[in-house]
Chain length 147, copies 2
């Protein structure tokens, strides 16, 4: 029980902090950033919308809304798939890659700072390992295509 309530609090506090900073400096939300990052790590800089949803732990409709904003800003482009006309790809644009580049240094720094202020290096690994146990979390953070 303590573990659960603390997960709630830790997420709320950390998210609010990082969101505010990212928003102020670059006009991006944390999820905007994560989406751009995932695209940048994927082959061809693009990902099926549904895969993006799974990796971000959002619903498909959440992804539609998220990408709406990014497309409007010209950071992401909609591409269609010739072999399956149901799927739409989200593809990183040049502007999107540049935006990610510009934001990443500061953002990664803030995250490092937040964690290293309170944890030793091996504790961070431990935390990551434990969190990966939750359903749907494992294997969502690297560039593997998530078959």
């Amino acid at each position: 029980m303590r573990a659960w309530t603390r997960l709630l609090r830790a997420h709320a506090a950390a998210t609010r902090l990082l969101n505010a900073e990212l928003q102020a400096k670059h006009g991006l939300s944390v999820n905007d950033y994560e989406a751009l990052y995932l695209l940048s790590q994927s082959e061809g800089g693009r990902l099926k919308r549904i895969d993006l949803a799974r990796r971000l732990a959002l619903t498909p409709s959440g992804v539609t809304r998220l990408l709406e904003g990014l497309e409007e800003g010209g950071l992401v482009e909609r591409t269609s798939c010739p072999s399956d006309r149901r799927v739409a790809y989200a593809e990183l644009t040049k502007d999107g890659a540049a935006k990610l580049e510009a934001a990443s240094c500061g953002h990664v720094g803030s995250i490092r700072e937040l964690f290293e202020e309170h944890f030793a290096d091996d504790e961070i690994d431990e935390l990551a390992e434990l969190l990966a146990r939750f359903p749907g979390v494992a294997g969502t953070d690297d560039s593997c295509p998530a078959a």
Copy 2:
């Protein structure tokens, strides 16, 4: 970095699951439940709104909105403080205590299930200990008045 993104995913996935269940069975959100629980554990079944905000990792305005719903449902009552007329207490009503009682068994069970399915007991403790390091998380989950 992995630790951070996994914290995001784990929270999103777990919250969505437990929220849906709690909502379907009792018409409460996770934060509704947490608020009722915190009140039930506090002296006199009441808490200053601002303390509730801190313990839930919400902003004061978030608490106002949350309590709006609970007051409408008769689960919580607004009480004033004689010694400082700025503060308003949120006080658990009989109905609120009953509602909490009714929901707690199933909800706690779901949480246990979710965690015990993926973790050993000592790993849960470890996770709780690590999460407590985040700023503002420590000491928010028991009944201490959070001076």
